[in-house]
Symmetry: C2
Subunit: 499 residues, 2 copies
């Protein structure tokens, strides 16, 4: 999830200077409309320590007309608060219609800290998060708009900030930074779970890469403007026409040309034929052995493949199936649904092929079509694909909870490499059947797909169910990366040491 | 919750004979419309053992055109099933659009049994129920209609059925009856929690009193017809015009004159002046002492009063406050909301008065206005008051989890007694201010209020947060019943033995 907020987004000083007054103006206009509406706005400021949450609060107070804004910091509970049920402190601060509450800390703070410090077990943590979800549902049903912002810093950056006083304003340094820095990994893990669990269609999370303060603040501004526009209905005089609708747990995009998670994939990796052949043979032998061990251990595995057209899915899958006994796996090519499938929930066609103990299912394209092609082509409505992130996470959670080994691959290639392969396919008679007009049409939507992939990874690449973004410009490299990942996952599941 | 399904509803043989063909006809018509729609129907059959669930399944298969109906019984998991994630068996049985699945047992069966037999702790149970809620949301978002039926039997009746072979058809006797009969109380307790937790606006539970098979089956028919009508949109040619919209966790009403939970209150109870005075003084002394002990123990209490106009709330509250030190309690009379209150969520005005440790808040009328006056007068829309049951349960859960002692009273009187009191108020100069035109108007809606109270108790009278229905025709009796209940709850909270 957070890898999509670790790709080094920045905003140049002069760009920020141009953008900031526009955001300020838009925020004020929208606040004016909020005032006249029957809605209230709750902005939740959370995230890793050291990300500059205090500075964001300052910025919001500069942008908003503060006559109708209350900022609440949830620090240690007072006597008054601890003597009452734990949501009392939040209920007392619920803003009136037309007004805004900025919450520095929130109903997430205590459960997150308790989970990170092992004071809550997994089920108790879920129970607390369920209550948060219910509270948010209650409030939004009652007319509140809830904007949930999460500020992320990579581990090194947090460490830097801890070490170098210079990088953060002296007065704004979080007193908890040192303590949390030691627990970074734990904190990120529980946070990921919390965000995924509470990322609903009505109250989505916005993950903001906070390394560059200018980017961070501009992203806050954009998220705020988008959220209010969506909730209040948009007006014609927008400064900046919106690009393709960004989704909920998102790296808030400042414009179309923004970096996405795919830009973080190093496409320059290559292997020589010799290296390839050597490693292929040894990995395939390994996979053959591991798949039989998996069978004996009565474990099951699901491998799924998504990627650009001509990304090399088919040939990569063949390198896997060559190595596995034909009795042990099935490949499910996902094309147009059958009548049987069309008549049911979109997940049904995937549920039915979940392997039994000891077997492997390979999905060639998958349930992610919902948030890729169906989103980009408009086959699914916004609310449909938006809620499917959670549906998909719940589905995969059940697989993993049951002990299924799950590997998810996105085969990434560059736009140029795709063009090269398309042309090759047109020329080569044996490959002509593989290129259609549809492929060319899809190619025109490259940027939309990039955004969709970015959101998909941000929403669904979780600790237990990570995506592997495959560096695929060199097919040989791609195949080896996939074989290595699958073998690694199987070894891990079987309790064997990594190779 | 289940007390509303233990009041002895029956249906005479000749009435059933008249009704049954009508239901059959309506069901077939609605099924025809379902067939042409893009929806599917899932009927979940659950409830206590011995309630005749198998007979209900037979009945449904007689009413429905079985060409489009599949019945699934979820018994022991097969190998095929246990080797896959636990929802796999349900997903494989999801009906196609236009068709029906009758599920005998469901995703509730295993969590309920595991919780009853202590194989799940409280948080794990909630986790399992959260997953059920998510599954149901996923399915309904995808176009499924889910009708959840719960069949209830009182403890004695279940025991009777166990003991007397004659009462149940020989071949249909549940093999689990004996085992579950021993765990009746535990099973009812975990069931209550499960039903409350998963009773959402989209997928409500229908609790059906199952002692009389004719009433039971007619209630199933009515629930099915109502559910399909609501989901498919109703058509003009209804056999039987619907009475006031019944709500979700409901005792399915067959007609307006049906018994409600209030009919189970014995209004004939009286006390002599002498008995009253004696017990009043001793209970007030007790309450005085207990309220100080509560203060010292840093516990808090919430007492709330609802009831018919002229039901005697005010005078009963005075008998309490006479006994408690004025520093320790506050009475919050709930009338029209202030501007501050109107501008926020309807629960805010009640949250703000939650007492701190050591103190008592008495609410004279309460958050239940939402499901009483606001429902009956149409101030809240159906979906608003319907979802507020869950909002209220969550609110009260938090009170109780925090250790707040909560007592909820409905002051019940008969329609005749109300008339007598109204007339008395009109004559008596000191009481004339207490009677208004509004009271007379409310009185005309007596039956609507009865239904609303019934639903309120069915939804919100839970193990930890029970309602006390006060027998109030005799004011003296009412006051003593209330004092006894409050003293009992305080003693219990303080760890003292019952008086």
């Amino acid at each position: 999830m957070f890898e999509a907020a670790e790709i080094g987004r920045t905003l140049a000083k002069e760009e920020f200077k141009k953008l900031e007054p526009k955001i300020h103006h838009q925020v004020l206009q929208l606040q004016q409309r909020l005032r006249k509406s029957d809605k209230s706005l709750v902005i939740i400021i959370s995230g890793v320590e050291g990300a500059g949450k205090g500075e964001v609060v300052d910025r919001l107070n500069r942008w908003l007309d503060i006559r109708d804004v209350q900022t609440h910091a949830y620090w240690e509970e007072t006597d008054e608060e601890s003597q009452r049920p734990k949501f009392w402190r939040f209920w007392r601060d619920i803003p009136m219609r037309g007004t805004v509450a900025v919450m520095f800390g929130s109903w997430y703070t205590k459960p997150l800290i308790d989970a990170a410090f092992d004071r809550l077990n997994e089920a108790e943590f879920d129970q607390a998060l369920t209550r948060n979800r219910e509270l948010e549902r209650t409030l939004t049903d009652g007319g509140a708009i809830i904007l949930k912002l999460w500020f992320h810093l990579p581990k090194d950056e947090q460490k830097n900030r801890l070490e170098s006083e210079a990088k953060v304003s002296k007065f704004k340094k979080s007193p908890l930074l040192e303590e949390f820095s030691k627990k970074y990994d734990t904190f990120v893990k529980v946070s990921e779970h919390a965000l995924q669990f509470t990322d609903t269609g009505d109250t989505p999370w916005h993950i903001i890469e906070a390394t560059d303060p200018r980017y961070r603040d501009a992203a806050v501004g954009r998220a705020l403007v988008k959220c209010l526009e969506r909730s209040l209905g948009s007006e014609p005089d927008q400064v900046d026409p919106a690009p393709a609708e960004p989704s909920s747990i998102e790296l808030v995009q400042l414009n179309d040309a923004e970096l996405t998670i795919l830009d973080a994939v190093d496409l320059s990796l290559t292997l020589t034929e010799k290296e390839y052949t050597q490693r292929l043979l040894s990995l395939q032998a390994e996979l053959h052995d591991l798949s039989w061990q998996l069978h004996k251990a009565k474990r099951n595995a699901v491998l799924l493949f998504e990627g650009w057209d001509a990304g090399g899915k088919g040939s990569a899958i063949r390198r896997l199936t060559q190595a596995i006994d034909a009795r042990l796996y099935r490949v499910i090519p996902v094309a147009a649904p059958t009548d049987e499938e069309k008549g049911r929930h979109y997940l049904w066609r995937f549920w039915r092929h979940v392997p039994r103990a000891g077997y492997i299912t390979i999905y060639d394209r998958s349930w992610y079509g919902r948030v890729l092609v169906e989103r980009v082509e408009g086959f699914a409505r916004r609310e449909e694909w938006l809620r499917s992130y959670q549906e998909i996470n719940e589905f995969e959670d059940q697989l993993v909870d049951h002990g299924v080994v799950l590997c998810k691959f996105w085969l990434h290639i560059s736009e140029d490499e795709q063009l090269r392969r398309f042309k090759e396919r047109e020329i080569e008679p044996r490959k002509q059947h593989k290129i259609t007009d549809e492929d060319w049409r899809n190619r025109e939507k490259w940027d939309d797909y990039k955004l969709a992939v970015n959101d998909m990874v941000a929403h669904t690449s979780l600790d237990q169910t990570p995506w592997t973004l495959v560096s695929g410009n060199d097919k040989l490299n791609a195949r080896i990366q996939i074989l290595e990942t699958v073998c690694g996952a199987l070894r891990n599941a079987l309790g064997l040491p990594p190779l």
